[in-house]
Amino acid sequence: MGMKSKSKKMMMLLMAAIMVLSLAACGGGNNNATKESANNKAANTNTQETTEPAATPSADEPGWKSDTSPITFDWYLNFAWFPNKWGVDPTSQYVTKKTGVDINFIVPAGNENEKLNTLIASGKLPDFITLGWYEDGVKKMIEGGLVEPLNKLAEQYDPYFFKVADPDKLGWYTQEDGNIYGYPNSSSSPKDYEQYGDTYVSNQTFVVRKDIYEAIGSPDMRTPEGFVAALKAAQEKFPEINGQPLIPLGLHEFTATGNDSLEGYLQNFLAIPRQKDGKLYNRETDPEYVTWLKTLRQANQEGLLAKDIFIDKRAQMEEKIAQGRYFAMLYQRTDFAAQLGTLYQQDPNKIYIAVDGPANSKMDPPTLNGPSISGWTVTLISKDVKDKARAIKFLSYLMSEEGQKDLYLGEKGVSYDTIDGKDQFKPEAFDLMNKDRAAFDKQYGSSFTFWMMQNTNITQQWQPESVEPYKQLEDWTRGKTISVSEFDLIDPLANSDEGIILGKIKDLRSKTLPKLLMAPSEAEFDKIWADYIKKQEDLGLAKVQAFQQTKYEENKKKLGMQ
């Protein structure tokens, strides 16, 4: 290894420098060029299309019927867990046959933010993009001019869009420039609430293991004392489940931004208002909420909070739920539906059932999040889309009742039939759906395997009665569900000044929550809490609140609540 010659030495110096510096080299390259070429391309397709002798589109006629030649769209889904492919199952094959549209789904392999931000920075997006309405990416793409205004596309190519779109939802998603760039799924406007409100259910549940709960005498768990006593009784009577220790209380996972169960979720159970006299209320500071955090601290002191709940990620939790290791859980029912199905098939007595959970001192019923106008995801059409006309027409088709029926019920005779004068799933399909959803997706592909534009208000006319064990959980949330539309979309962009503050506050919260629960005494808890509140103020909480207040007032105006 004698480095004698000068060139060798230089080479080594160079290599060493590379090894060290390549660590620093990140961030996007100059994407001016790509953007420009993308623009040119868009301009080209534009001229091509306008020169085509376009038949004057009619508002009553579904646009997609005018052209059913084969075309393949790339569709980006910002959900790494999405497991399905278009064209594998009979439902998507049926839609492709009908409309000529084939879809190539692009799903991130790892961190969704990373993939989406890379796509945005490259300046070139797939034809369709579907992501949660709460994502920063939505605003970035709109501000960066990377997506097409749907209203302009519709005016030019497919006025039928306005017939199938809900004007309230369009109003909600209208941007400051007067354009609409994305359309939501699973969205329910205040008007929908009037029409279907009593059928709405929430995902948020407090569940207990049926056999254990009954064995300890079905206690009332609404009060702090009753709650801790029940956990204790369960642990004493059933210290082990199949040779492994019982976990008295399960929560959603602790993440870098906090804990879902211990924030809005618990606050909803305590019916803590989101606003008071038109001012957004800092729910965290409510004495009822602090009381319950202290209750959980007490539970931890008595050895009722297992360490697992601070460490486990979703995968470990799902495994433990399937083993029935938890006694009680403050957990979304939809997040453990598959495990619940498994438990039910093994022993219908060892399942999780919803019961009344933590409540405030006045014993008010919970105010759970119901469907909101923002919905779940929004779908946007990229500026780089292959064929603007076909894209907006296909979107309209998916939004229309026909499209909803196709993706919900599938092809007639394959996945549904008219039985007793009513269009409904074939019994064998429905049976498989409840037993093995993954297999159902591949074998039938209906019931919104492709949920990108799902509108459950339209499809509920075909919806079968839910069956046990899911029905009990759903029914429990009925009447406890409220609309929280006006509180959506009020958070600042993550890299804005307010957004950075909010990010720091969330980071602080994620570090404080475990400390609060693990505090050895109530005095220690009070100290940590006071410190936490003060640090939030120092970080600039007031600035964030002012931002959110403005947004909230705008939202109320949009929804006609003022």
Binding site: I18, S22, K140, M141, K307, F310, A315, A494
Partner: protein, 322 residues
């Protein structure tokens, strides 16, 4: 005028020498042309993937937004660096990074010792078996291993079973839930995973030692340990030095995969390291300029450490990278 004749030849000579050496150089280049083309590919790769992306480093000094280009972003000076130094996580992050890395640096001699002992094993088959078994864990990704370790280290895991059976502890400990065990877990699992693999390079260096040296040592009456000490070790000194210099420069480079899969909200105070912090602020929160600034800060310190280690090594034993 008289000077002219004498100067001219001299000048001629001066002009003549470079072309001849350049010609020589070109000739040499021509004879090596096949090899040079191969090298060129490597250089091109390096320029494209290592040098051009370095341009992106300037966003550390700008307020970069992904929907605009780097050139369009306004300059921000050293704001991001200042913010990091004032960040309330700074002290904790630095403590964890340096702590974990220095401990890892202390384990540097282990693979050398392992290679030396392995070299002394006389049965070839046994040696091969040990070698294979010891570097097998290297091929498991940290993502897989993280899941395995989380199970092993949980309060009902195998580690607790063993410790309980040996009466080392009275009641099960949830190892990953306690910050005080985190560094130990990181270091131990890293040794277990990489020991065999890191020993390979030393084993390779040992095989290149001339057997005559050992013969000479034997004749002089050196025992096995003396041979190890006076022949083997000095012969691989250069390899050790170079690897050590590189290890020093990597001090701020805690193993990101490992930390990411083993950290959780309870051990955060011991597991938040620079790499994770960069990932969290950059990738998850989208603050690219801020996290690039942190990354650059780390790289500059790493470069300084590298230069110091190199100088020291040059002074002490005359081996160095450059």
């Amino acid at each position: 005028m008289e000077m002219q004749p004498s100067t001219q030849p001299a000048a001629m000579q001066e002009i003549e020498t470079p072309p001849s050496s350049r010609r020589k150089w070109l000739k040499k280049l021509y004879t090596q042309r096949h090899i040079q083309i191969m090298a060129l590919l490597g250089i091109a790769w390096m320029v494209i993937f290592n040098y051009i992306p370095m341009y992106g480093v300037i966003i550390a000094f700008k307020d970069y937004d992904i929907i605009r280009t780097i050139a369009e972003a306004p300059w921000a000076g050293l704001t991001h660096f200042k913010e990091f130094l004032q960040d309330e996580n700074f002290v904790n992050v630095m403590k964890n990074t340096l702590g974990i890395s220095l401990l890892k640096l202390l384990t540097f001699p282990l693979p050398i010792a392992f290679a030396l002992f392995l070299n002394e094993v006389r049965s070839l088959r046994y040696k091969k078996a040990i070698q294979t078994i010891s570097y097998l864990p290297h091929f498991l990704s940290w993502v897989v291993l993280g899941g395995i370790l989380a199970t092993w280290l949980s309060d009902v895991g195998i580690i607790n079973d063993i410790f309980m059976a040996l009466h080392i502890i009275d009641k099960p400990i949830s190892f990953l839930a306690e910050p005080k065990y985190f560094w130990t877990i990181i270091i131990t699992s890293d040794i277990w995973k990489e020991l065999g693999w890191s020993a390979i390079i030393y084993l390779a260096a040992i095989t290149s030692i001339s057997p005559e040296m050992y013969e000479a040592a034997t004749i002089d009456g050196a025992g096995r340990f003396q041979q190890m000490w006076y022949v083997t070790l000095p012969s691989i000194k250069a390899t050790i030095s170079i690897l050590f210099i590189l290890a020093v420069s990597g001090v701020l480079n805690s193993n990101f995969d490992q930390i990411l899969v083993l950290r959780n909200s309870l051990n955060d105070s011991a597991s938040n390291v620079i790499d994770y912090y960069v990932y969290y602020t950059g990738i998850s929160s989208g603050r690219y300029s801020f996290s690039t600034a942190i990354g650059l800060f780390k790289s500059v310190i790493a470069l300084i450490l590298l230069l110091i280690a190199n100088q020291v090594s040059k002074k002490l034993n005359d081996t160095s990278l450059f």
